[in-house]
Amino acid sequence: MKDNDSIKIAITDNSTIIRAGIASVLKRLSNHNFTINEIANLDALKIFIRLHTPDILIINPLILSNNNITLSVKKEFPTIKTIAILSSFIDQKTLADFDDTISIFDDTETINTKLEELLAEDDEETTDTEQLSLREKEIIACVVKGMTNKAIADKLSISIHTVITHRRNITKKLQIHSAAGLAIYAIVNKIVEIQDIKDGIN
């Protein structure tokens, strides 16, 4: 189960064919929800990156010329992953600053694997089973009644840290991010009564 959150990708290359090509390959990778921006030159990139920090920057190293933007991007926005687009032979030294490279001759599978690897670094262990444990159901019942993490911890005699871990696992298993969403789930599965959530949600 993948997270539904959208991943922001900026593609910077002065060739419209390469930009559109990469964008359309990315759109085929349906296991992620990408928000893609195409950027044609450095000036636009500088403004874009300041306003909307992307998660991944895919960029043609050739348009950088002597402008060492990758280093300054890394310094100012350490969370951005950078990928170099290889459309011709490029000196390995230039590529050292990038997290990865994509060649225009790579197939979809290869590009997919590279992105998965880049994105996986942030991801913590994923749980595959979607069955909720009894404890997790107890936690849901508390959350939709509007209880704080502290109150839940006290009631179930566990630490706040454990409550947070349980909540994170619940979100992962059900793909429900909000308390109001959990409330619907809890009603459907008869974990709580409607009156409980009316008091909790508002």
């Binding site: 921006n37 000036d43 874009f48 300041r50 306003l51 793909q175 619907i184 809890a186 599965n189």
Partner: protein, 237 residues
């Protein structure tokens, strides 16, 4: 910027909608009533006192977005007051028309299954909470962000706030609507097909992508135009 496929002031207004029907909503947000006849974009805009460049910037943004909009910070001559008028109209469309009408339809559809009364109530609770959230999001833009830009335009002191602060925090408001739709699809305990509920889901899908596009337009057309104005003002000082 790719100028080949872009609409021009001399294009016929009706042709724009024939090519992309989702642009109908743009027309009403600019206050351009149907019945365009053979008139061009420029003629219609002039008649209704709408800034033609801004109208075309919005239309072209939405048109190109389907293929991948190319980010261009130094955008054509957008009039910020006209763009803000458009955004305010769009806000009013979502808050006063679209979201309430989806709620009405959703309620009717869910009431067809009285056995699920509790589930219906929990879904409507979610929806109401979502509407409040959208309201807060858009009111913030109407009252705070747009006022900042108006002050900027009229040369008043605007303190240390910059549009960058808005851009970095600006979240995409359709997220919880997506969640509601996903929950209904995955967990709604339905025994027989309910056409009205399906039709409501269609509306929600549509509203979701409309909201997404709206937020994108704010990110990629409005914000850079304001940033450009800020830069110009700094240089003049």
């Amino acid at each position: 910027m790719n100028h080949i496929n872009r609409y021009k002031p001399t294009d016929k207004m009706s042709n724009i909608i024939f090519r992309n029907y989702s642009l109908i909503s743009v027309m009403s947000r600019f206050g351009l009533p149907l019945g365009f006849g053979e008139k061009t974009v420029k003629e219609i805009c002039d008649k209704q006192n709408v800034d033609c460049n801004t109208f075309l910037a919005v239309v072209n943004f939405i048109e190109e977005e389907q293929y991948g909009y190319e980010y261009d910070a130094e955008n054509e001559q957008i009039s910020l007051p006209a763009l803000m008028d458009y955004l305010k109209q769009a806000h009013s469309y979502f808050l006063d028309f679209n979201l309430p009408s989806i709620r009405k339809k959703l309620k009717e559809a869910l009431e067809l299954e009285p056995k699920n009364n509790d589930v219906t109530q929990s879904i409507l609770l979610f929806y109401d909470k979502y509407e409040t959230e959208v309201n807060r999001h858009m009111e913030y833009e109407n009252k705070f962000v747009f006022e900042y830009v108006e002050n900027l335009i009229s040369g008043k002191d605007t303190g240390s706030y910059r549009i960058k602060n808005f851009a970095q925090k600006h979240n995409h408001i359709e997220k919880n609507l997506t969640e509601l739709k996903n929950i209904i699809i995955k967990y709604y305990p339905q025994e027989t097909c309910n056409n009205l509920l399906n039709a409501t889901l269609f509306d929600i899908f549509h509203c979701e992508s409309d909201l997404n596009l709206h937020c994108k337009l704010e990110d990629e057309l409005f914000t850079p135009a304001v940033a450009e104005l800020e830069k110009r003002l700094v240089n003049e000082r």
